[in-house]
């Protein structure tokens, strides 16, 4: 149990160290531009004066965190099996525009209407990501390259659909949008829940999609940690060769994982779409897919960590406003976000080494008979003893023999 506690501690250590390093660097930067770092941080954590402002601030943070969380999850699922899905951006944009159009076009009773929109978004996202998986297993195309390229195509396609066949806004309107989704396709806000808890009524609605996101997070956590499929996925991520030897069909896993990652990516735009926008337009929030990479990295690809990372990013995002009121440049927030992501890469490496050392000690203290494991930690080698750079992804000629 102490070993478990230590591992949990170590897994928290990396992100915490990263946040700390980022705060120190940011404090230095703030001090350099002649502002008081302490005052700046105080402004950032100040949620407002009145209860309603405070609740509103929390709602703003939560509403921002929901899409970030989903984006982080989408990236993380692929990460966990060693796939780098950079295409989340294109997947959610295309999924959102099509889901918005379908949602506006169909007339159905409320729960069914909503379900149709969600399913369309997930299917579109999954199919778009599936292209990447299929290209990888059939043609050996690196998922990094193909997903970046598909981003461009997706953005262009979404733009074409929006300005062409799916256009719902009147000609001449500055913002081009799809038609509005009627009430039966919208997700009600959770403000009733907030007031029911005795909290002040916030000015904007807390996204009902928050609950969906939580469910998705739990499902992904269970899928990764508790199911055979999740085991195969993680095993492939840890060692494609060992997973293949254990009977995992690496090609199938690539496609399945991309489908799941894309399906989650399809959900990213829905909190905004179904909670406040009700249509997809030219001003629809872009870039969430890329932010998701940072969130997944910060959350170490674990659902709970991603939730915390999303909340942190959302919190920092909101903090940019009070900072500006206090005449501190809001770029401080951008600096903090950037340094966190950089620091997390470094801190993860430090934490990994500490974990390794702790594991070695644990192994060493196993029996009075054994010293430090002679096995040590030699890098994975190929059978001929020559060290190869490990591709880290299945589906390459070596990994996909099955």
């Amino acid at each position: 149990m102490t070993g478990l506690a230590r591992r949990v501690g170590l897994s928290l250590f990396g992100p915490l160290l990263a946040v700390l390093v980022a705060l120190v660097i940011s404090a230095l930067v703030i001090a350099l531009i002649g502002e008081d770092p302490i005052a700046a941080f105080r402004v950032m954590v100040d949620l407002g004066d009145s209860p309603s402002q405070q609740v509103q601030s929390i709602v703003v943070v939560l509403n921002r965190a929901v899409p970030l969380f989903l984006a982080g999850l989408a990236v993380a699922v692929a990460f966990r099996m060693g796939l780098f899905n950079i295409g989340v951006e294109g997947q959610y944009r295309l999924a959102t525009v099509l889901a918005a159009a379908v949602g506006a076009a169909v007339v159905l009773p409320a729960p069914l209407h909503l379900l149709v929109i969600v399913v369309v978004a997930m299917v579109v996202g999954a199919l778009w990501a599936g292209i990447v998986g299929v290209l990888k297993v059939t043609r050996g195309v690196s998922e990094v390259i193909s997903s970046i390229m598909l981003n461009f195509i997706a953005l262009g396609l979404a733009s074409y659909l929006l300005t062409g066949p799916l256009r719902g806004s009147p000609p001449g309107a500055s913002i081009i949008t799809t038609s509005e989704i009627p009430g039966s396709g919208r997700v009600p806000s959770l403000n009733g829940l907030l007031t029911g808890l005795g909290l002040a009524e916030p000015r904007s609605g807390l996204y009902g999609f928050l609950l969906v996101a939580i469910v998705v997070g739990v499902v992904v956590a269970v899928l990764l940690k508790r199911t055979r499929f999740g085991f195969d996925l993680r095993a492939t991520g840890l060692s494609p060769s060992a997973a293949t030897a254990s009977g995992v069909d690496a090609r199938g896993m690539v496609v399945k994982t991309m489908l799941i990652s894309g399906a989650i990516a399809g959900l990213i735009g829905l909190p905004d779409l179904l909670g406040s926008q009700y249509d997809y337009g030219t001003e629809f929030t872009a870039g969430l897919g890329f932010l998701g990479i940072a969130v997944a990295l910060l959350g170490r690809s674990a659902p709970l960590g991603i939730a915390l990372a999303a909340l942190l990013f959302a919190f920092l995002d909101r903090a940019a406003l009070p900072l500006q009121f206090a005449d501190i440049p809001s770029s401080v927030v951008t600096i903090i976000q950037g340094t966190i992501v950089l620091a997390v890469v470094i801190a993860n490496e430090v934490a990994r080494r500490l974990a390794l050392r702790s594991a070695e000690r644990a192994g060493a203290s196993a029996g009075p008979d054994s010293g430090v494991g002679d096995g040590g930690t030699p890098p994975p080698t190929s059978p001929d003893g020559g060290q190869r750079v490990r591709a880290g992804v299945p589906g390459d000629p070596q990994g996909a023999q099955a």
């Binding site: 402002q53 921002r64 733009s159 074409y160 500055s174 000015r203």
Partner: protein
């Protein structure tokens, strides 16, 4: 005049403070910077930027210049807010400014269309304005004024200048993002060029498709697009591409051709002499004048709401820059067209056929 403005401001600020109290919990205002007290005397202007925020050397900065000029002259406070990187918190900017008691609150950019319509009705005692957003029909609320521009008129003159100066009979237009707003620039430019020379060829291209705002801030792609036009025989390229315009200038400088700037007098804003030399003129969109004018109107109590303030050639909200003296020789012809537009004898289209 000035005294009356101050009195007006005092009155407004006071009433606003009361309104803020009313619209919120009574306890709320105690700790704030004070709806009353010292600040109450001042004009408190809130300015919410669009993507890119302050320091974009374009649109947002221009709005700031106007707002700062007005608050300097009238006395008072100016609070700016930039959105986050993906500008997903536009609504929050307006809410925060209104909640903190800033009045008037000015939103910069047509992207505020939806959110201002959402937020303004929640703060009936705050006066809002939106740069580049129309509220002639009052759909966004009775307390919103649209500050709109006849970009097509200035672009028409840019087209006139380009056609008069072109030796190849081929000119170009680079748009930042495919959108109704930028299409206004394109339509005016094409019409102006064809008014001078019906046979002229106008190459037209957008950097990014609708919904992808990277085209306003991607000099590298701006350069590639413009270079393509110069390679194809165009000798003057007009850009309506925000920050990407820099790339257009670089392409012009590299190929020995010329370019036309947009929004501000870019001859004055670029620091590199090599680029200055290729900026033949700029289509001026005086966001600063519009914002300054609006604040002055507000201070004088002349804002009605649910209307548009149209800035065009007649109000000098739109113009063609002459810095550098490159178009001095054709100034009389340009002035002719200008007068015809103001008189209404020439109608400039706002959409492309």
């Amino acid at each position: 005049m000035k005294a009356s403005a101050r009195a007006m401001a005092l009155l407004l600020a006071g009433s606003m403070a009361l309104a803020a109290c009313a619209s919120d919990e009574p306890a709320a205002e105690g700790g704030g910077e004070g709806g009353g007290g010292a600040a109450a005397e001042e004009l408190r202007v809130g300015l919410a930027y669009d993507t890119g925020g302050r320091g974009d050397r374009s649109f947002n900065d221009s709005a700031y210049t106007g707002a700062a000029a007005a608050t300097d002259a009238l006395g008072g406070e100016l609070q700016e807010l930039s959105p986050n990187d993906d500008a997903s918190n536009r609504a929050d900017l307006l809410v925060q400014l209104a909640e903190q008691g800033f009045n008037p609150v000015i939103a910069v950019g047509f992207n505020y269309d939806d959110v201002i319509a959402e937020v303004a009705p929640q703060f009936p005692d705050t006066t809002f304005a939106q740069v580049d957003g129309s509220n002639a029909d009052g759909a966004k609320g009775d307390n919103v004024t649209g500050l709109i521009f006849a970009e097509e008129e200035g672009s028409f003159l840019a087209g006139v200048a380009a056609a008069l100066k072109s030796e190849s009979g081929r000119v170009g237009f680079v748009g930042g993002v495919e959108s109704p707003l930028i299409e206004k620039f394109e339509a005016g430019y094409v019409a102006g060029a064809q008014a001078v020379n019906p046979q002229i060829t106008v190459d037209r291209q957008y950097i990014s498709p609708a919904g992808d705002f990277s085209g306003f801030n991607d000099p590298a792609r701006g350069q590639i697009v413009a270079q393509g036009m110069f390679d194809g025989g165009a000798d003057i390229v007009y850009h309506a591409a925000g920050g990407s315009g820099l790339g257009v200038f670089q392409a012009a400088a590299a190929s020995g051709n010329r370019a036309i700037g947009v929004d501000s007098d870019q001859y004055l804003t670029v620091s590199d002499p090599a680029l200055q030399a290729v900026i033949m003129t700029s289509m001026l969109k005086r966001v600063d004048n519009a914002v300054e004018g609006f604040i002055n109107d507000y201070a004088e109590g002349n804002v009605e709401g649910a209307t548009d303030v149209l800035n065009d050639l007649s109000t000098e909200g739109i113009d063609l820059a002459t810095s550098g003296g490159f178009i001095d020789d054709i100034q009389s012809e340009i002035d002719q067209y200008k007068q015809q537009i103001i008189d209404g004898t020439v109608t400039v289209p706002t959409t492309i056929e």
